[in-house]
Structures are given as C-alpha cells and as structure tokens.
C-alpha cells in the first residue's frame, strides 16, 4: 500500500534536515505504529506524505499503490485515498462542520468522476457515523473545530475519516488529549474501519492506544530515521523503559 524509501526531508525556509532516510513499507490491511521522542520527525513525516507546504524532499520516494504521491497536490493525494488525522486539527471560523464534510465528500467523488451525494443520503450517513462517535448535532452545525475541546477535535477527525473512507489512514497522536471513554470511542471508530484493503499508520506516544488498536508492526523513530521495528512488544518496552536503552542500543 504505502512504500517509503530513503526519504530525506528538509525545511524549505532554512537548511535544516528533519527526515534523514526513512524506510517504511505498509501492506494492505496492516496497522503500523510509530513511536519516538518529541521532535524526532513523526509529524513531519505525516505532513510530507499529505503534501503540506514548507518541506523539501531532497532524496527518496513515497508511493501509494505504486503511484508517486510526492508529485501530487494535497487534494490529489486525498482523492488517491490518503488521509491524515491531524495532531492539531485546524479551526475554520465561518465554515460549518456539515458544509465542510459535504464539500470534502463531494470533492472526492468529483475527482473519481461520481455525482454529488444527495442531501438526504449525506445526512443519513453523517448521522449514523456521528452517533457512533458521540458527536452531537450541535457539533455538526458549529464551525469546523471552533470552540471544540481537544477531545472533540480528535473525534471530529475520526468522523471525517469514517465518512471519507480512505485506504491509507495516518493518525498523528489522535489519542493525545482524549479521556479514557473518548479513547475507547475513537479506537472503536478506527477498528470499525479496519479491513483487508485499508491500512493505518498510527503515531502515538502511548502504549495505551495500542491496547485498543492492535498494531501489526511498531517502529521507533529517532532523529529523523526509523531506528528499530518490531512487534507490539516494542511498544510495551517503550512504555516501561522509555527510549534511553533503545536508542543507546541502536546508536
């Protein structure tokens, strides 16, 4: 599904290397987790994959089902099936959440050459997905993420994912700021989407999320590289011992 080879990325503004050769291969249907110290480059990887401005790829490649995504515009990547649940979801005053969701759905349909979804079908879809995530009608009416609590923002990200049904989902610290119940809701939302054709890349600092969303592979990222990969037990090791030993071992 997603193949990243020797990806080197630096900031456009200053010559600061952030990703220093990332290799990653995610097969269809698999869940991969990335853990790693603050500032190691996890969010940068997710932004570069989704096409945010400000980064320059100096070396390496990233493909989605064989297609070079780095050459695509952000909206083309989305249409190709890539989705990023933001670490910091953006507030958009004046744009209603419903309008936002409907525009997103219809934009992606248009890119695939499909007709707009009917208002009635859309409403039904949203109601059903929102209910599962305990997102009430009021949150749907309000401007996108404006005045939402941290946890509500994260739930709203998962709602978008559920509605857009991407094939490659990247979750950047979706668990941070969630209370125990919300964590369960969000995990259930993610698990409901798991299937043989859909893959996940879950960025997190905590083992706890991985209790709910069981990963197939866990990677440790440090200083712009994946320094170690293993099974779910790697996450437990981090939880118990921190990164000190792991990083010393790989240095």
């Amino acid at each position: 599904m997603l193949t990243i080879k020797d990806l080197h990325v630096q900031l456009e503004e200053e010559e600061k290397q952030i990703l220093k050769g990332v290799d990653l291969e995610i097969e269809p249907g698999k869940v991969h987790a990335i853990m790693g110290p603050n500032g190691s480059g996890k969010s940068t990887l997710s932004y570069v994959l989704s096409g945010r401005d400000g980064y320059e790829v100096t070396k390496g490649s990233a493909t989605l089902d064989g297609e070079d995504i780095l050459e695509m515009e952000p909206e083309e990547r989305a249409a190709a099936g890539l989705f990023l649940a933001f670490q910091y979801p953006v507030e958009i005053p004046g744009v209603g959440n419903m309008t936002f969701l409907r525009t997103a759905v219809n934009s992606q349909r248009a890119a695939r050459g499909e007709e707009d979804v009917s208002a009635a079908d859309f409403l039904k879809l949203i109601r059903e997905k929102a209910k599962a995530l305990k997102i009430d009608a009021d949150m749907l009416k309000r401007p996108v993420n404006v005045g939402f609590s941290g946890g509500e923002k994260k739930r709203n990200e998962i709602l978008q994912m559920a509605v857009l049904e991407p094939k490659m989902c990247i979750l950047d610290e979706t668990d941070s700021g969630l209370d125990v119940d919300a964590m369960k809701l969000v995990s259930d939302g993610v698990n409901a989407l798991r299937n043989a054709g859909r893959s996940f890349l879950v960025i997190t600092h905590y083992q706890r999320l991985l209790d709910h969303i069981k990963p197939d592979v866990v990677h440790i990222m440090a200083d712009g590289k994946i320094v170690k990969s293993g099974g779910p037990e790697l996450a437990l090791e981090v939880e118990n011992n921190g990164y000190g030993d792991l990083l010393a071992e790989t240095a």
Binding site: P74, E75, L84, F86, I92, S107
Partner: protein, 430 residues
C-alpha cells in the same frame, strides 16, 4: 489650493452646462436650483480632495460617461423567490409595464416626476433636505448634483408595518446610459418598511436615497449592486432617525469598475439604532470599491454599528472611510465599527480610514480595521480532505464574509444572497 479650486470650478461648469431640470412646482424648482448652487459653489470632487484621496472621482465628473458593456447574468433575478413589489427602472427610467401596480396597503408610492408637479407637504419637506444637511461637515457634491438633476425616482411613504418588501430593480441595457435617480422614503411613526435594490442601473449611475424615519419607525434596506463589470456608481444614502427608530442597511457588491457608496446617518432621537453593513468581492485591477460612512450621534442612548468586509484579488482595490461622530450630550452612545479585508494576493489593496470624534464622556465606541491573507493552515486542511484550492478558497471567502451577511435580519433575503455569492464565486472559478 487656488489652482485646484479653479480646476474644479471649470470641470464643474462643464458638467453642469449639459444638465437641465424639468420645470415643476415652485417648491421643486427652488429646491433643485438651491442644490445646483450647492454643487456650483462646492465644485465636483477631484482626487486631490482629502475625502477622495483613495478613490479617483474623475470618471464620475466627466461630462460623458465611459461606456460600459451590458453583462448578461444568465441567472434568476436576485430576490426572485421573495414575494415583493417590483418597481423597475431601465437605464434610470421608470418602466411601468415591467413594474407591479404601485399599490400596497399602508404605502403611498409615487413617481418623483409626479411629486415635482404637486404640493405634497411631506415630500416637499424631505426632498434635498437630508442631502443638504449631509453636506456638513464633509461635502458630498455628487449628492447635491443628484438633487438638482435627478430625472426619476420613487417617493414612498409608509404609515403601517408593511411586510412585503419593495424591490427597486435597476436594469442596464444601454452601454452609454448615465442615470440619476433620487428616491424619498418617509417612514411614519411606528411604521416598518423594507426596500430592496438590485441591479447595475446604468453605465454610470448616481443615486440618492433620503430616508426619514419617525419615532418607533423601522427601515430595512438590502441591496445587491449589479454584476456588470464595467459599470460605475456613486450612491448616497441619507437617513435621519427619530426616537426608538431603527435603520438597517446591507449592501452586497460584486464587480463594477467603480463603486462609491456613501451612507450618512443622523441619530436625532433617543434610543435609536443604526446598522450599516456591506460585503464586497472584487476581482481584477479594474475593480474599485469604496464604502464611505458617516454616522452622527446627536441623541442619548443610541446604538450604531458598521460592519464591512471585502475580499480582493488580482489587483482589486477596496476602500473604507468610516466615521462615528458623537456630539456633545449624546451620552450612552454605543458605537461600533469594523472593516476587514481578505487579500487573496499581494497585488490587491485595502485602504481604510476609520475615525472617531467624540464630544460626550459617557460613551462606548470602538473601531477596528484589519487586512489579512488567507489562512494557509485552513487552506491546507481543506485540501488534505480533497477539496481543490479554488473551492477551498471560496469556502474561506464565504466564511470571511459571513459576519457581514449575518447583519441581514430577514433570513430569506440573507439566504438568497449567500447562495448567489456562492454561485458567483463558483462561476468565476470555472
């Protein structure tokens, strides 16, 4: 100084020499001659005048209008879904056939030309009166020119609360038309009237509306200035508000080479409310839009509010000159003013001159003006969800303008304008 005055006097003479007014009743002749004298002594504006430093008035002063192509909108008329009484003007001339019968319970509606030949005391007491009062402390020569030489217009008196709006519809068919319309509105005690204005009107349009609102009266005004790209317009809205009365005006402007909308409001009775708002979308370096507002608080416990938003791209220019004047004794005044622009590129410009002048001590007045670019994070967020940049920009544009459109009280009218705007933006994209 003297050179500028001489220059203005000579261009003004040239302009006036071409204009004549039809003789009517003595009062009309008198008030029009007085207005003509006002223009002659003030002189038509020049871009070196302080009040016109952001907007070059020369094309409005010239004897002949610059021709303007007629724009085929190819869409249902604005407010077409609203039950309204239509009064149609084609290139500034009343079109009786296209208009509805001028009859609504509780309203007196007359043509200006008719009023000129008669002796209707309330019309006599209003024609050119608010315009003349509005000449100080700042001169507004185009409005005086209008009073002197208006060729048509409507005169409306409301005596009850009228729910059905009056829609003044301005068609532009002649590429060289030069229209001067003058409307009079008298809202009697406790009455309520809504007036809609739609369409480009003419190649060059000079319009004045004088609105006198008696105690406890209410006047609502929603205007969508026509989309003809090349039209030019200078408009003057003059209102006087009595005790506990309300004046609410909103203007949507898309296109037009030149638009200068002046709004002059006097709060003369206690506890009155005046709201003026506008949204403008400008695309291209031939777009110039100017909102000039002057609100005078001359009574106790009045509220005034100015909310103006402009979205500018490809070299478009937006201007806002807004003033709140609080006279001595106008205590408990609550004055608010905000003007904001969203600049979609580095070529576009927003020029703002917000002013407060306060001679009372117990007042709350605030004003703010901002100019900003599109929120890149929001744009990326939308794009990451699959929304193409043009559409995403439109969504953010509409979001930016929403605060101004929210000023429209009548939800059906607001919705119509929201959908219009969305469609106009979408069409521009394709």
């Amino acid at each position: 100084m003297q050179a500028l005055r001489d220059l203005k006097q000579s261009t003004t003479r040239t302009r006036l020499s071409d204009l004549k007014f039809e003789e009517g009743a003595a009062w009309a002749n008198q008030s029009r001659a007085a207005a003509r004298d006002r223009v002659a002594s003030m002189g038509l504006p020049h871009k070196r005048d302080e009040y016109w430093k952001f907007t070059d008035p020369s094309s409005l002063v010239e004897a002949q209008p610059t021709p303007a192509a007629v724009f085929e909108a190819g869409e249902t008329p604005v407010f077409g879904e609203v039950d309204r009484l239509k009064i149609v003007f084609v290139d500034g001339v009343f079109d009786a056939d296209a208009s509805d019968p001028l009859e609504i319970e509780g309203l007196e509606i007359l043509r200006l030309s008719e009023v000129f030949t008669r002796d209707i005391h309330w019309a006599k007491d209003l024609y050119g009166v608010l315009e003349a009062r509005g000449q100080s402390p700042v001169e507004r020569p185009f409005a005086a020119l209008n009073t002197a030489f208006a060729t048509d217009g409507v005169v409306i008196r409301a005596t009850v609360q009228v729910s059905r709006p009056i829609n003044l519809i301005y068609h532009h068919r002649d590429t060289k038309s030069d229209a001067i319309l003058h409307h009079l509105i008298k809202v009697e005690e406790g009455a309520d009237l809504t007036v809609l204005e739609t369409g480009p009107a003419a190649a060059r349009f000079n319009k004045v509306m004088e609105i006198d609102i008696a105690d406890k009266g209410a006047f609502h005004h929603v205007r969508a200035q026509g989309r003809d790209h090349e039209r030019r317009a200078v408009t003057g809205t003059f209102a006087r508000l009595g005790t506990e009365s309300a004046f609410k005006s909103f203007t949507l402007t898309a296109n037009g080479v030149l638009t200068r909308n002046e709004c002059v409001i006097e709060l003369t009775g206690d506890d009155a409310i005046a709201h003026v708002a506008g949204a403008a979308v400008g695309d291209g370096d031939d777009f110039h839009h100017d909102d000039t507002v002057f609100i005078t608080h001359d009574a106790v416990n009045c509220e005034s509010r100015q909310v103006f938003k402009k979205v500018l791209r490809n070299g478009a220019v937006g201007v806002f000159q807004g003033k709140i004047l609080v006279k001595e004794g106008a205590q408990k005044t609550d004055g608010y003013q905000i003007s904001q622009s969203l600049l979609l590129d580095g070529d576009s410009q927003f020029l703002a001159k917000p002013e407060l002048e306060i001679y009372a001590d117990d007042v709350i007045c605030s004003h703010g003006s901002t100019s900003g670019a599109i929120d890149e994070d929001a744009l990326f967020y939308l794009r990451s969800r699959g929304v193409e940049p043009g559409k995403a920009t439109d969504l953010l544009t509409l979001a930016f303008l929403a605060e101004a459109l929210d000023e429209i009280e009548n939800e059906a009218l607001a919705e119509d304008l929201r959908h219009r705007l969305e469609a106009w933006l979408a069409r521009r994209r394709s």
